[in-house]
């Protein structure tokens, strides 16, 4: 058995019965990384020895649980890949940036504390676009991650390393972050599952900040059940993060029950936005998504066309708001407290300018500049305030559709399949278009999952399922019912 191919729930079943050990599982994953990561380049940092130490501990704990008949924590002994945007105590965290090339966090992000408490084993930190700004992982200051389905193509971004690690079976589950699509779009490009939770569902404490009114942390996994498991572990209130909602965390896995019924989606109303099938959508992507909608109908769902009239404005709105927030968040990288410093001068401001000029890459500098401009005197009302108002209109589009009784909204995750490495790097606007369908949900703060729904020219296509704020359960139930009725998620690239 190729243990590295297991999902979290499959591995757990075997661990419960004692048929495999976490040490075997961890070694299998590390061997897999040895075999394929030179080609895929998903990981920035691998902590093999630490992982094997943790695995030995987990084996001892599993032995106790089996002996006493007690329930082990959800992720005991499960090898995990974590996006380098997430602070890991004692393990270098770069956010894909040169300006953090030597940063070793003195503390864990809340999501890491929760994953650790659930028994997960950190295998390594995954590559990403610098500070999560990008749609292809080409903006990493270290190297380009390749799509396991076609090594000449991008894995999407910004959580491209985590998505590639899932597609290539270089961990059992992964964490990404999603500000405007950075979990969902790479999941769609790699035939994996990517879940962006409701804004406020998951704490961002200890997650390197990009645009704080948009940033969320979410799982990238091999199937929907695993996404539900990971979400259940990382969700919840955090006294250290004021936006993390003080609401109970449902048992997301139990929300999946009933998928085996003949018509599991009986009574579910699915909205299909006209605007998500507009010009620019690749015909092969449209075909796969239309087929997926027919599958939902065959499972009992009723579908109806809906309209989200401000969809076209999401892109300009996002690319004013996110850079504005980023320009403020990234002011902290000054070469004083931590990270890289370029000592070209004996004068503090000059050192700071030089440090930031060299420490940040082209896209990050572009966004800092754009955001600084949008916030500057004389332009604030025309750009930043205007974009905040349009954000209200975009949110109202969704409110209206859900208020009319639609349970979930579906559409393509990205207008295209994975594009070629280098194809869009010189044209920022073209690159931004890869996120055209994932920005409006982020602006509205509502949960969305991308799941595999077919292939176009041999490359994966993702289906997006969008729900009301804090209604991840319904979203997961629809996603799971679709997954159980199809086999796309079981397809693997040959490496």
């Amino acid at each position: 058995m190729e243990l590295y191919r297991l999902t979290v729930h499959q591995a757990r079943a075997l661990l419960e019965k004692g048929e495999i050990s976490t040490t075997e599982l961890t070694r299998a994953v590390l061997d897999r990384i040895d075999a394929v990561d030179a080609r895929v380049k998903a990981y920035l940092t691998i902590v093999a020895d630490r992982a094997l130490d943790q695995a030995r501990d987990a084996d001892a704990q599993w032995a106790e649980h089996r002996k006493n008949g007690t329930r082990a924590p959800a992720l005991l002994g499960i090898p995990m890949a974590i996006k380098d945007e997430v602070c890991t105590r004692g393990v270098r965290t770069t956010a894909g940036s040169k300006i953090l090339n030597n940063f070793v966090p003195p503390y864990d992000a809340t999501v890491m504390e929760k994953l650790n408490a659930a028994g997960g084993i950190l295998i390594g930190k995954t590559n990403q676009d610098e500070f999560a700004m990008g749609s292809s992982t080409e903006n990493s200051r270290y190297f380009v991650t390749r799509n396991p389905w076609d090594l000449e193509r991008v894995p999407g971004g910004s959580s491209g390393g985590s998505a590639a690690a899932m597609a290539a079976d270089e961990a059992l589950c992964a964490l990404g972050t999603d500000t405007g699509g950075s979990v969902r779009q790479p999941a769609s490009f790699t035939n994996t599952v990517g879940l962006r939770p409701t804004y406020g569902r998951v704490s961002r404490y200890g997650v390197v900040a990009f645009a704080s009114s948009l940033d969320q942390v979410g799982p990238i996994t091999k199937d929907v059940r695993d996404a539900a498991t990971i979400l259940g572990v990382i969700a919840g209130h955090d006294p250290r993060e004021a936006t993390a909602a003080n609401l109970p965390v449902p048992d997301y896995e139990s929300a999946l029950a009933g998928a085996q019924l003949i018509a599991p989606l009986q009574g579910v109303r699915v909205g299909v936005p006209r605007e998500y099938f507009a010009a620019g959508l690749q015909p092969g992507v449209e075909r796969a998504v239309r087929d997926a909608i027919r599958v939902l109908e065959s499972l009992g769902a009723t579908t109806q066309e809906v309209t989200l009239p401000h969809t076209d404005y999401a892109l300009p709105t996002y690319y004013l708001l996110a850079p504005a927030e980023a320009s403020a968040n990234l002011a902290r990288y000054d070469g004083v407290k931590y990270g890289y410093r370029l000592e070209e001068s004996n004068e503090m401001w000059e050192v700071m300018r030089a440090t930031r000029g060299d420490g940040f890459g082209a896209e990050v500098k572009r966004r800092i500049m754009l955001g600084t401009y949008a916030l500057s005197t004389g332009y604030y009302d025309a750009y930043y305030l205007k974009a905040q108002k349009v954000r209200t209109l975009i949110k109202q589009d969704f409110d209206r559709v859900f208020a009319a009784g639609v349970d979930v909204i579906v559409g393509p995750t990205s207008p295209s399949v994975a594009f070629k490495i280098g194809e869009r790097v010189d044209d920022p606007l073209q690159m931004y278009l890869a996120d055209v369908f994932t920005l409006s949900q982020a602006l509205a703060g509502i949960p969305t999952i991308s799941i595999p729904c077919g292939f176009d020219q041999g490359l994966p296509v993702g289906l997006q399922i969008i729900a009301r704020a804090f209604d991840e359960e319904r979203m997961l139930r629809v996603a799971y019912a679709y997954e159980q009725a199809t086999e796309w998620h079981t397809r693997k690239p040959s490496l």
């Binding site: 030597n102 003195p106 804004y199 406020g200 009114s213 006294p239 004021a242 936006t243 909602a245 076209d312 404005y313 300009p316 690319y319 004013l320 320009s327 002011a331 000054d334 070469g335 004083v336 407290k337 931590y338 990270g339 410093r341 000592e343 001068s345 004996n346 004068e347 503090m348 401001w349 050192v351 700071m352 300018r353 030089a354 930031r356 060299d358 082209a362 500098k365 572009r366 800092i368 500049m369 754009l370 600084t372 401009y373 500057s376 025309a382 750009y383 305030l385 205007k386 974009a387 905040q388 108002k389 349009v390 209200t392 209109l393 949110k395 920022p428 606007l429 602006l443 703060g445 704020a469």
Partner: protein, 98 residues
């Protein structure tokens, strides 16, 4: 909305970014293109629309006024590019000119 080189240099100074001549040229044309694209927001009448700063209806979340331990100083300073010999302070280059 065409930006000028001078404007770009001014923004770079506000953002404390050192840019070389090539970067300023590229930034001038790329930012102009992005702002042109963003100008389509002006098509929308938003006179009566309130801005959304955050989708979470929260205001002034308070915590208990209680002292809790912070990270020890050596850990806070461990990542500093430069610090005083006694390990007590961050150190920066001269701020004031002579």
């Amino acid at each position: 909305m065409a930006l000028t080189r001078v404007q770009v240099q001014h923004i770079a100074e506000l953002a404390k970014l050192k840019l070389n001549d090539d970067e300023i040229d590229r930034m001038t044309s790329q930012l102009s293109a992005i702002l042109d694209y963003a100008a389509r927001l002006q098509e929308l009448d938003t006179e009566q629309i309130p801005p959304t700063a955050s989708v979470v209806p929260l205001q002034n979340v308070m915590r208990a006024d209680r002292v809790v331990p912070s990270l020890p100083r050596d850990q806070v300073l461990a990542n500093a590019p430069d610090k005083s010999e006694d390990g007590e302070f961050f150190r920066v280059k001269a701020i004031l000119k002579e």
